[in-house]
Symmetry: C2
Subunit: 269 residues, 2 copies
């Protein structure tokens, strides 16, 4: 099993939940499934998106898989807590699925491809279990899309080090920009890829604080030990960089931009 760069800590679960709340209105509009359809959520993690999917498509049957038993337990408890009985969770590897060909009406995968060593192979496997005419929705970030003000040397150094750490195990934190060719290369017909961005400034303080201090900074902090161990930043730069990032999210002159990409594709008939 490949290593998940962000780890599986308690703080990370809170981050993933905060993130899903902020992101719901950004990435879920346009995604809805019919009654009786069977949808695979590939790489559900702690269920942050799962509960939103199930809430928005109450008559749909979901199978949510993840490679981590620990995350699945959290996801299961979360779905049970919300009384969502339409989701079945099971442990599974998106690159080697136990399901027969053409098993699902649709597939949903959010923040998964960026963490895989071979996203092309995963997409081919997902296509195999999708019925012809069924849709794939894939959502990924792009860390190279991120910028902020004030952009200090230390905050830039820490952010670039974080990208390197995440890129380390063969994964691509800048995968958003290549979702289109990646999905097309796996044989899907890509219908649309659209940026889903957030921009915060002093006039949009909730977005600014939520993005920087509840999503980005905690996410970067998951990479601290790896960055220091690999010598990508020293302890002083690390502290200054995190403090500077936090300042961008709080000062009256702070601004922040990041974009995810949402792709919708179809398996050819």
């Amino acid at each position: 099993m490949a290593e998940y760069v962000h780890g599986y800590g308690e703080r990370e679960n809170i981050r993933l939940e905060d993130q899903s709340g902020i992101l719901e209105e950004l990435i879920h509009p346009g995604t809805g499934y019919d009654e009786g359809e069977h949808v695979l959520e590939a790489g559900c993690g702690v269920g942050a998106q799962t509960v939103i999917l199930a809430k928005r498509s109450p008559g749909t049957r979901f199978t949510a898989i993840d490679i981590s038993e620990k995350s699945l337990k959290t996801a299961q408890a979360r779905a049970a807590g919300k009384g969502l009985g339409t989701v079945r969770f099971e442990c599974g590897d998106v690159t080697a699925l136990r399901f027969p060909d053409n098993s699902f009406d649709h597939i949903f995968a959010c923040f998964v491809l960026e963490h895989l060593a071979d996203p092309h192979q995963a997409l081919c496997e997902l296509k195999r279990v999708l019925r012809p005419g069924g849709s794939l929705t894939a959502i990924e970030g792009d860390h190279g899309s991120c910028f902020w003000h004030p952009e200090t040397a230390a905050s830039l150094a820490v952010w670039n080090a974080f990208i390197k750490v995440q890129r380390g195990p063969g994964h691509d934190p800048n995968i958003g920009r290549r979702l289109y060719p990646l999905i097309a290369d796996a044989g899907f017909t890509v219908q649309d890829v659209s940026p889903r961005w957030v921009y915060g400034d002093a006039g949009k303080k909730q977005i600014l604080d939520g993005m920087v201090n509840r999503i980005i900074v905690p996410m970067v902090q998951t990479g601290r030990d790896a960055m220091l161990k690999q010598g990508l930043v020293d302890e002083t730069t690390w502290r200054q960089g995190i403090a500077d990032l936090e300042r961008s999210g709080t000062l009256p002159d702070g601004t922040f931009f990041y974009t995810w990409f949402k792709a919708i594709a179809v398996k050819r008939l």
Copy 2:
């Protein structure tokens, strides 16, 4: 007079016209002025935005100023060619205007602040000639927002060198992200700052080709001599970088993203 980094060549005029066509639907929606109002366009250049403004607000009187007599002649000919008689052109410096206080109902400034050594001072001067309650619309790019696929070492080197060249004379090619604090610091009430982005891929070929091959590549080419002279890139990297950027705008796997920012602010009553 400060040097305009892109120069005043014929190819540059074509680029500015191509750009304004692509950008009209991106940046002009939401901007419209009433009959009888008097609007200052600060830094009209070759009139690329001027003719769009005048077309969209046919009953409004525009005064369009620029520091370059040469650009003004082009702008004047363009407006005359379109039969736009509501615009008066004159030579002027946005940092030292000849107009009395409170002369204008509104001010429009597009791609101007990024080229000034002291945008704060210019905004204070613009506020002086704006009537209380009048609006300022400012639109600026942010070169740090730009990313593409495939992102080769050469294309990245050329793009970063271009940012350095443009930053050279005290100007800020990444000014978009700080429009909010910049305008607020000049004493305006900022009503809204919004990203106005373009994203192109093989499913949006016209946007991809238009942005990369008709806007970005010609723009970067205006900085060629300065980049080579300053030793920021060598001739081989230059050629490879431009070829790689062009490839991103044409190959089936090419993608491109860039965002401008549009700010709307008001002079307090």
